[in-house]
Symmetry: D2
């Protein structure tokens, strides 16, 4: 049972077999707060991997599936069937399972980006979920306590009218060419599995979503210059974008997988006419908050603050004891569990949704189109 | 089941009822890697709190106890009884349960410091565990991947002969007087529940243990100046200690609960005749490593390194994605689970043990005695 | 006399009267290494200010001028006349004095940007200096020791082929509207005195020049989005630019005077296919250097380094003792003194020149033009 | 002339010939603000070095001396004789010149520590300066603007009653044995030239003085453990000290020349019952100031502040543009010039004095004595 006495949600998983990275992350996230029990899985399309992975995770034999369609059908029919499913396959394998489970009345937790094509994303948005099944897109950075605090600070007017948004996500792991043996790299650099965006889909969307989540600003148009620096690479590995927001704010977004010396340097900086905010993912328990004309303040996760703490943040341990990526991820899981149980009204508007997923695909496609047109300003409505 | 297919350990808990901090932390730590199922508890000595807490955690009614003695007896008698117990009570309530469970053949996971008196610690060391029951002391900072790396770097000779060790643990939460309503503060500042040491027992031992774990140095004597700065406080809230190690290395240890602006600033710096190391808990995914005459290198958890990565570190997610306090804690839990299953030979020497607990009490008592004698150099053998 | 026994250069100054900021900085820069004696000045066009300022600085009465033309004429005629002049007036007052002194055979040290219009810059480039008089443009950040080191690292191939350049210069001092009483702000936000660029001319050129100096990359085109966020402001106060360099490298440049919480946050990051560099002006004695696949190294000014130290850096005091802005500025002054004395061959190619000034104006004008054309890619040759 | 129109002070120098480090620093410090003209020197006791060094610095032939006695006599007799002298010799050569110049009525600027023996220090304190000649001890760190701010914050009560002072000065340049060819190391590790303290005299006194300057606390007793880790070294290279201050505050001081990875890591942390301060020399334009229960504030040199800026700080350039070691040093020089001119009443109490020099020697000798007595608490009155 969860810490607060709430019952655990029965969870299934599609993808995430032995050796996969993000499935493992989802499982930890599901365990941290004790809100889920993993009881079924179509962990791989290869039967032997599905079987071995399922056994390792302690799944009952009859709930180890090799096809998500079968899993959706069978689980929906069981009285003790799964209530939610985590979809952790490569991008091009999101749409099918998401549709199947939503139509089976099973809540969907889906890794980002939502699909590999915008057509799929739009089609998914048209699906009629049975029994009000909900959808969570795991833009996990939105679960960080201080990201929630940032959002509430902006919403409260503490920064005034937002003028400038600088967001970036540099990595360096794709600095050199990689082969098929690097499983993580292989599908991410393959248009057939990843979609039209490489770096922009993998991490650019995270950066975009983070800026969007914190500021609430809606994008008017993007001007993008996408590059593939590594010879032979088919998808972009460096992304330069200028953003124009409705209302006049401006932004820059940089994402890169070839920025040597950066591991996962996601950083957001927001400036308004009254104040500024600066936050980095690699030391996420700290955030700079400056009121114009006053000294910079270092806000800490759960620590002293001169404004009300964010109502929506989940702080597990005292300030100064670092929480990290997995706890932020877990917050999405536990708040979605509350939504599933009908107790999460306050969270529902905060959790990344199917609409955010469609917007993410618009961002990707508009950027790709802009880049193909010499960085011409491109509206989301044009893709 | 655990990620690797290993079966889950059946776990009980003593203390940790609703509202307690460290019990909650232990439960998350036990969940993260999926190596335990919490199935029994004596969560409070107050029956109604024990019942409510147990129900909230989903324990079966007949496994919610109000006495640890009864729990040890009953669980040892069940075929599906707990295999391990987490003791998360205040210090003076460690000895009794630890003895009872060890003698019942149940593995013990015990919060630090091991007891509230050195007599209790020594008595516990004399207990004959039934069926080889093991003991884990949760000096959780030793679970941080880079702390493991630090230990291996020292052991490898990369720093040469160690000369100087600077360790500190400043906090500020006890800067002002607190009342009984602050539950965390109340027992920690009460000699009857905490023992002879306040700050030194609560966080000084963590700092000492960290230095000991990383350097392997044995202490020759301490010279301590302990203070209670807050009027009316009965135990120390600031600790200044000079250390002499066997072989000639020297150290300083500072722990404080009145250092305004510090949350949990645990920091270790180690210098040898060939190199130096610097690590901070509040940003634990980074560590400075300097070879004399070369530029400082920033080692990252799981990232690039010019020496072999620590064999004993548990890295769950890619470098640049921060792990934190809970993951370090979970590493102790999961590696202890491996020990329980008979697969953890490599870990056993690393996990904080009963002997470390006795040494921690020696450290506390020698420091208290030194301070009472005008900071006279005091050997552990004198207490 | 200078430290090395070289004779001091006789220096004059145009602008920089009482209350001016940058003239004061130039004077300190000229004093630090003892290479100059300030002996004449047209410190203000207002006679009483010129007189008072000159007296305060100890100038002989007959060498306090109120007109730069007169000063150029008179000093050129004196046997002990000035050998060099520092021009520290607002931008629109650079061209006249620079031309006059060069044609009088007096070396010119000129603050940036070189002029307020590109026509003036080009005209200045056509001036025939008498007796080989030289020109120094004080892009002072190029004098930082680690900026020199960065340049040499790039030139040495330590970073491989450069792919991505991220440069930024955020400030916040113009977050709110300012009046004429803020002297520094007044002329910088006035097109008549500043030229067509506000923020881009004041600090954007510094950022551009820094990237250019370190990487050696030539710009192919810019796509710029310039804004004036403060109501009523005539010139830009926020600058977003994407850069395309010859050879395929890409860049982003952000300059802002409305980024609350930033004082002078000039930062350069350069990434190649072998390595990366990161440097910030606000803590300029440190620079990150990463070779792909190895830990980040923290290079320090004058400290340990795994590659040869920069031949062109001027390190006055031991590493760990910080040098700053004034020392970097002084390095330009002292190396220009060496050039004047005929001893500075090695420095001449490093010191920002009249050609750099013209390029800076091209950068400003191309960016302004691009911004006026909806961020259309604009070549320097188009302005 | 100085910037403010004040006349320049005629300065001489004892020591500081070609190749010396600290003399060069003093000369830059004297030049930065334009308050001095160096016109005479006994730069070396070796005639040829004295001559070459003097010529390089442009001294008139008849003002290049090889004996400080002769220099004191001759300069005192000249109508244009020096008004102040900078003594920059090794420690054992401070007393003689200081006495000679004070008795000749010439102001003395003396490097620290004041002498090599406490007897010399006390004798110097007994000297009767002619014509009210003043004495400045160059504890240069007290010139940093934020150190001045720290002092004023403490004095204003912003931190409340001070409880804990942590000061440290780690370096690593003496990690390995050095020979006579390392001129800086040679005299500092030689008791005949340095006195009874090695590391403690060279940098421990700086740390002590800094703590003393900022907090105003008077020392009751020290307990010291001094070590020479490098084989064959005669003086201490690592210093561990516990401090007891009058009124009950406690402190720790660590100084080391064998802490690999530290260049000049001077750091001061002060905690009171209302607030805390933290400052580091290697990034000196920033200081943490925390009021208990509020977020940490990052104060910047000359930047926004929630309390009045320090009246005694000298800020030359805008916040965000770093000033450094040389500017701090220069502030002592320029404020001493004001004292000499009779305009520096406000500064006189701030500038490190002969009394501070005697106290510094007491600190050294009490620490050495304590260390020789097994770290016995030792009062300054006992040495």
């Amino acid at each position: 049972m969860a810490e607060n006495g709430a019952r655990r949600i029965r969870l299934g998983m599609v993808g995430g077999g032995t050796g996969a990275f993000i499935g493992y992350v989802h499982r930890i996230a599901a365990r941290i707060d004790g809100d889920y029990d993993l009881v079924a899985g179509a962990l791989s399309s290869r039967p032997e991997v599905a079987k071995e992975s399922g056994e390792n995770l302690g799944l009952a034999e009859d709930r180890i599936y090799t096809s998500y369609e079968e899993m959706a059908r069978a689980e929906a029919a069981r009285p003790d069937g799964i209530e939610a499913v985590a979809i952790v396959t490569p991008n091009h394998m999101h749409y099918g399972p998401a549709k199947a489970f939503l139509e089976a009345g099973i809540h969907v937790i889906c890794d980002k980006p939502i699909t590999s094509t915008i057509e799929d994303a739009r089609a998914l948005a048209q699906v009629q979920p049975k029994n009000g099944a909900k959808f969570l897109l795991t833009h996990n950075y939105t679960g960080y306590p201080l990201v929630r605090q940032a959002r509430e600070l902006v919403a409260s007017g503490a920064l005034g009218t937002i003028r400038v948004v600088q967001v970036e996500y540099p990595q360096d792991w794709l600095t050199e060419a990689t082969g098929e043996e690097n499983k993580q790299a292989a599908w991410r650099t393959d248009p057939a599995r990843s979609g039209a965006g490489g770096c922009i889909g993998d991490i650019g969307t995270h950066a975009y979503n983070l800026a969007r989540f914190v500021t609430g600003l809606r994008t008017e148009a993007v001007s993008a210059d996408l590059d593939s620096f590594v010879p032979g690479r088919q998808l972009d590995d460096n992304v330069h974008i200028m953003l124009r927001f409705e209302g006049g704010a401006k932004g820059m977004l940089w994402a890169s997988q070839v920025a040597v010396g950066n591991e996962n340097g996601l950083q957001l900086r927001v400036y308004g006419d009254k104040g500024g905010l600066e936050w980095r993912q690699d030391n996420p328990n700290y955030m700079w908050f400056t009121e114009f004309g006053k000294p910079k303040q270092l806000l800490t996760r759960g620590g002293s603050i001169s404004v009300p703490p964010a109502a929506s943040m989940n702080v597990r341990i005292p300030s100064g004891h670092p929480e990290g990526y997995l706890e932020a991820f877990a917050t999405l899981y536990s708040q979605f569990a509350a939504v599933i149980r009908g107790e999460g009204q306050d969270y529902e508007a905060l959790l990344p949704s199917l609409a955010d997923g469609v917007e993410g695909m618009q961002f990707i496609m508009a950027s790709v189109k802009s880049s193909q047109n010499d960085a011409k300003w491109t509206r989301f409505s044009e893709v």
